[in-house]
Structures are given as structure tokens and as C-alpha cells.
């Protein structure tokens, strides 16, 4: 039960900056995702919240109290490690008891608590087994059990499903989310898998190169990306970027792509020069009509939908259309863009231009 506030936190390892001034807030009870490619500083951020790494500068507030420089034992935050880090010389029961023993809890109470948690996680029958021979899923459950057994203020999870087989991962993700919904404990979850982040998270922070790129709900981040990096990283296939040179002025509702006027959300910020027209594949429809045309290069059948790759005057574009619609390779078709869902970017810095679509998100993100 806790709110966590990260304020201008920075972490340097010698000359190397692992996390640049970052700020975001994790509300009480949220399932919060830290998303980004490998090496962007997610683990470092998580470890700073838990106290395993001390920030070089900046503050971390836990329920309003500044804890940035305190040792982990004074934070009451649990951590589920990427490779689980179960104590190899102890059996499952001892692993689960360990956090309680450190608090000086009486034996009988420890036993009762461990059994309660084991029942929640369905690991009662393996309590007396050594951790060495456990399956990945059971290790995962024991690691979770060790985290929840002492009712911490918040949970940190570092790619907890990364060590599991693909087929088992989905099942475990559901189990995790169900566990969270049941306990309603503030959880910070690190992943590099955008799909996992979208599926499980209440809120997402997208990091790249030690910088927080965007912070918001999955829907906000998907529909209203703040940067080209976020637009590209989230979604599969990712957002199409059509490069064009032009001028956008405040109040504009269309841009010219290869001489054809294309509708966009009302712009609230002027810009000029090298620009990018960003549109998600599912916001493109294909028809015989339409002034803006492209040639079908390939199609990929996905069941109810198909991904059509087209060559357009502004570069290659992928469209997600109904699989009943016929698209033949080599055919020239018209492209229609769903105007309210389009985002324009400034190619020079990768930032989204402020528009009617994203104004609410960008001004507080």
C-alpha cells in the first residue's frame, strides 16, 4: 500500500550515465510497467527504488517520505529477481520464511504465514522440497511467495517471466496479474516486451537510452506516442513513418504528402522542415479510389486480418486490413488514413507535434 514518486533521479556508474534525470509517479495499488529495450536503464531504476543502488542525485518518495539514500532493509519493498535468486542452500519453506525470520516473527506465526502464502500460490505440496530441482514455474511462484509473504509496501519485479518458456509465460502473466488484483499492492514490473507491458500494465513508463520517453496508460502510449521511439517500439507491426518536407502551422488540419492533401488532427504547434507523418497499420484502409496511392509489395495472412506491405512515394508502409479484402502483389491501390489517429513528428528531434489528439497527454507527460 504505497505511492512511489521518482523525482529527477539520476544514476552514474563512474563516467557512464545509466539513468538520466527521470521523474514519474506510481500510484498506490498500480501495476506499473517499466518498458524499454535492453540496456536502457530499467533494472537500474528498479534497483534504486528498492535500495540496491543509490541514486547519484534526485529523490525517491515512498508515501511522501524521502527514502532515496536508505538501505533496502529500511524501505519495506520486495524484489523479485530476474533469475529468481532463491537461496540454493534452503528448501522452499525456509526460502519463504526467511523474510519473516529477519523481522523476529515468532515461529508459529511464521509457519502459519508461510502456509497461507503457499496456499495462495498453490505450492503447498512442494514446501519441503529443495529449490534446486524445481521447475521454472515453481521457482517463479516461490520467488513471488518470498516477496508477498511479509506484506511489503510495494513489489519490484525485474523481468520475472523472462526466464520462463514462451508457452508458460502467458499463463504466469495471467497468474501474476490475478495475484495483483487480489492483493492490490503497488507493483513495478520491468519488461522489454511491449506486448507484455500493454497487456498487464495499468500504467507504462517507456525508457530509452537512460531517458524516460513517455509515461501514461497503455492506451495513451499506444494512441498518442510522445516520441518516434515510443511510436516505433510499441505495437506490432510498429507505426508507419512517412517522411516529408513541409510546413505545419498552428490550426492546420491537413498536410501535403507527395502533393496530396491528407487530413490530420488540428495542430496546436507550428513546425517546418523535415517532418514525419505517423500512422498505425490499422488506421490505414485500402481502396481502389483515393488520390494517395501505393503498390502492394507483399501480404502476410494473420487469420482475421492481414498485413499488407505497400511501396508509397514517402516510403514503405504496412497496413492491417481485413483478411477478406483482396490485395494482390503488384497492384496499385489507394491509401486512406484515419485522420483523427494520425501523429506528426519533427524528424530532427523525434518529438511529436502537439495536436488536438495528444495535447492532454503531452502537456503532462
Amino acid at each position: 500500500m504505497a505511492q512511489i514518486q521518482i523525482k529527477n533521479v539520476r544514476k552514474e556508474f563512474g563516467d557512464f550515465v545509466a539513468v538520466k534525470e527521470s521523474s514519474f509517479t506510481i500510484e498506490d495499488g498500480e501495476f506499473f510497467m517499466l518498458l524499454g529495450p535492453s540496456g536502457c536503464g530499467k533494472t537500474t531504476t528498479l534497483r534504486m527504488i528498492a535500495g540496491l543502488e543509490l541514486p547519484t542525485s534526485g529523490e525517491i518518495y515512498l508515501d511522501g517520505e524521502e527514502i532515496g539514500q536508505r538501505p533496502p532493509s529500511e524501505r519495506d519493498i520486495a524484489f523479485v529477481f530476474q533469475m529468481f535468486a532463491l537461496y540454493p542452500h534452503m528448501n522452499v519453506r525456509k526460502n519463504l520464511s526467511y523474510p519473516l525470520v529477519s523481522q523476529g516473527m515468532p515461529r508459529a506465526q511464521v509457519k502459519a504465514k508461510v502456509e497461507e502464502v503457499a496456499a495462495i500460490l498453490g505450492i503447498t505440496d512442494i514446501l519441503n522440497r529443495p529449490v534446486g530441482g524445481l521447475s521454472g514455474g515453481d521457482r517463479q511462484r516461490v520467488a513471488l511467495g518470498r516477496a508477498i509473504v511479509r506484506d511489503p509496501k510495494a513489489f519490484m519485479m525485474d523481468e520475472p517471466l523472462g526466464a520462463l518458456d514462451a508457452e508458460f509465460r502467458e499463463h504466469m502473466a495471467e497468474e501474476l496479474r490475478a495475484l495483483h488484483d487480489r492483493m492490490n499492492a503497488t507493483t513495478v514490473y520491468v519488461t522489454h516486451d511491449q506486448l507484455e507491458a500493454m497487456q498487464m500494465g495499468d500504467k507504462i513508463v517507456v525508457m530509452n537510452n537512460a531517458v524516460v520517453e513517455q509515461f501514461g496508460t497503455p492506451q495513451e502510449i499506444y494512441d498518442k506516442p510522445a516520441t518516434m521511439f515510443v511510436a516505433d517500439f510499441i505495437g506490432s507491426p510498429s507505426m508507419n513513418f512517412l517522411n516529408f518536407d513541409g510546413v505545419v502551422s498552428e490550426g492546420e488540419t491537413s498536410v501535403a504528402l507527395n502533393g496530396h492533401p491528407i487530413a490530420v488532427p488540428r495542430q496546436m504547434q507550428g513546425s517546418s522542415g523535415s517532418l514525419v507523418f505517423g500512422v498505425r497499420p490499422e488506421h490505414i484502409s485500402l481502396s481502389d479510389a483515393g488520390d494517395y496511392r501505393g503498390e502492394v509489395l507483399a501480404t502476410e495472412y494473420l487469420g482475421t486480418t492481414q498485413i499488407v506491405t505497400l511501396d508509397t512515394p514517402n516510403g514503405e508502409v504496412k497496413a492491417r486490413i481485413d483478411s477478406t479484402q483482396v490485395a494482390k502483389v503488384g497492384e496499385k491501390v489507394g491509401l486512406n488514413f484515419e485522420a483523427p489517429k494520425v501523429t506528426l513528428f519533427d524528424a530532427s528531434n523525434g518529438l511529436a507535434l502537439l495536436s488536438e489528439l495528444n495535447q492532454g497527454v503531452l502537456s503532462h507527460g
Binding site: A50, G51, L52, P71, P72, S73, I77, A78, F79, F81, Q82, M83, A85, L86, Y87, P88, H89, Y98, P99, S102, Q103, R146, R150
Partner: protein, 312 residues
């Protein structure tokens, strides 16, 4: 082709490997066996040529090892008949036992100095290795190299300075002096070996303990140490073997109170020169503690080997 398998060696190669191992074991064990046998020979049998493999066993060597004897006149011998089998053995040479030899004391010195310096080396070495493995230490690489470099000089090169230094400090021929000296020599080996073992232990185990509410020292003590048991055991064996067998420093720096067994054993004098059966008996007994220690820790050593193969 059905008899061929990638994982299971063929019968012939198993047989070959087995023969090789047994042959090697025999070759290394022959000198040991010879020493043990010599301990039960009479002085004459011990130096006979060609060497005797079949002989009449006697405990003479062991009696001579543990006792001091003196020659007596015939009248005295007649007046005092032998009281036990030990007396009878020495009577062959017209001698009587006048007291225990120094061997017991020297052996005890070896035990105190050997195990004392091993304990100290492991204690300091584990702490230092943990620090080098886990913390950012300025000039860590240089310090590690410096520690290793203390091992590069042969004992004989530093023996004289140490001898002079010890005399000034009053550490000559003391248990403390020898323990400190052997610890100083062993510590480099201990730090390097143990650092390797501790590096292998994932930091996450300690971090999990920190998260679980333990202090850094508790995490070290309760989580790292049990994980490092294998490494500690094998390092301890190496340290003990060195301290136990060390000869050069012991000859130079000890002569009485703190003399260890290695410089003592070859000085056991019998009738007309070295008493070979007694020397062999001393060597045999001297082997036993290291053997027991190694056998006790063997489980850890084997586990260390198999663990390394399975982990990660």
C-alpha cells in the same frame, strides 16, 4: 554401430582409462607404502641391500620415535627386568627407556601452527576476497597483484630478513611467529582462490537477503558463506598442506618451543646414525592429520566439481 554412443564411453576405453588410473595410483602410492613399511622394520632391515620387501615386523621404530633411551650397565639391566613390551624391545640394545621423546610436542606444534595459520588465512582471506569481489575498491587490480606478488619470492630469499626481523620482535621460535608467517605466505593463495569462488556466486543471493531485511554482514554470513563452503574447504586444504609440510622457514626460525615436526623428524638419531625406522614411523604419523582433514572435506571438494558442471 549400435554399440557406439556419444555419451557412454566404449568398454575398451573404460578399461583403458581404469588401467591408467590404477597404474598412476600405484606409482604415487609406492613411496608412501615404502615409508609405512619401513616404520615397521628393524634398523638392519631398513638399510639392507637389496631392499627387503618381506621382513619380520617390529614396533621398534615407533618405540624409538616416542621415547628417549639410554644405555645401561649389565648389572642395572639384570637388577631391573623389563616391565613391558616396550622395555623388551629396547633391551636388545642394552638400553632402558628414560622418558618420552620430543616428538609429541613437535607434533602438537605442527597441529597448532598448521591449523592456526590455516584458520587465520581462511578467515582473513574470505573477508578480503569478498571485499575484492563485491565492492568498488580503489586500485583493486594493483592490490590484488601486490598480494599475489608476495608469493613470487622463494622462501629462501626472504628467510634471512625475516630471521633478523623476528629476532628483533621476539617472534623467533614462537607459535605466534610461525602462525603469522605461514598466514602471510598463504593469504595470497587464499585471497585469489576465494575471490574466484565468490565471484561465481551471483550477487542476487545477497541482494535478496538485503531485501529480506538482513544487514550486509548477515547476508554475507548466512547466504554467501554457505555458498562458498566448497571453495573455502578446498582453499583450507591447500593452506593446511603448505603450512603442514613447510620445512625451510621451520628449520631456520624454530629450534625448540615452536619447532614443528618436519625439521624434527629427520634428526631422530639412533644407534650409529639416523634411526630410519623411527624417521619413517614419524613420517607416517605425520601424514595422518592432513589425510583425515582431506577426507573430511572431500565431500565438499567433490560437490564443488559437480556443482560447477550443473550450474547456469
Amino acid at each position: 554401430m549400435s554399440s557406439f554412443s556419444v555419451t557412454e564411453p566404449s568398454k575398451r576405453s573404460k578399461w583403458f582409462a581404469g588401467t591408467l588410473v590404477i597404474l598412476y595410483a600405484l606409482i604415487t602410492m609406492i613411496p608412501l607404502a615404502w615409508i609405512m613399511l619401513t616404520g615397521f622394520k628393524s634398523p638392519a632391515d631398513a638399510i639392507s641391500y637389496p631392499p627387503k620387501v618381506v621382513f619380520e615386523p617390529t614396533l621398534e621404530g615407533y618405540v624409538n620415535l616416542f621415547t628417549q633411551r639410554t644405555r645401561q650397565t649389565q648389572e642395572y639391566l639384570d637388577a631391573n627386568p623389563p616391565e613391558n613390551w616396550r622395555d623388551e624391545i629396547v633391551r636388545q640394545y642394552d638400553m632402558v627407556i628414560v622418558g618420552p621423546s620430543k616428538f609429541g610436542e613437535r607434533f602438537l606444534n605442527s597441529v597448532i601452527i598448521g591449523f592456526g595459520s590455516t584458520f587465520l588465512s581462511i578467515f582473513l582471506g574470505t573477508l578480503a576476497a569478498y571485499a575484492f569481489s563485491r565492492f568498488k575498491i580503489p586500485l583493486a587490480d594493483d592490490l590484488l597483484f601486490f598480494i599475489l606478488s608476495t608469493r613470487m619470492m622463494p622462501p629462501i630469499a626472504v628467510a634471512i630478513p625475516i630471521f633478523l626481523m623476528y629476532r628483533q620482535l621476539g617472534l623467533s621460535d614462537t607459535h605466534l611467529g610461525m602462525i603469522l608467517l605461514y598466514t602471510a605466505v598463504n593469504i595470497s593463495l587464499a585471497v585469489w582462490l576465494l575471490k574466484g569462488f565468490i565471484d561465481e556466486i551471483p550477487r542476487e543471493y545477497e541482494e535478496a537477503a538485503l531485501i529480506d531485511g538482513y544487514t550486509r554482514f548477515q547476508a554475507f554470513y548466512k547466504v554467501v558463506l554457505p555458498q562458498a563452503a566448497t571453495g573455502i574447504a578446498s582453499t583450507a586444504i591447500f593452506c593446511l598442506i603448505f603450512a603442514w609440510n613447510e620445512y625451510a622457514f621451520a628449520v631456520l626460525l624454530t629450534s625448540g618451543t615452536a619447532q614443528t615436526a618436519p625439521p624434527f623428524i629427520p634428526t631422530i638419531i639412533g644407534v650409529g646414525g639416523l634411526d630410519w625406522p623411527a624417521v619413517a614411523a614419524g613420517a607416517t604419523i605425520f601424514l595422518i592429520p592432513v589425510m583425515i582433514f582431506t577426507i573430511l572435506l572431500r565431500k565438499h571438494l567433490l560437490r564443488g566439481i559437480t556443482f560447477g558442471a550443473v550450474r547456469k
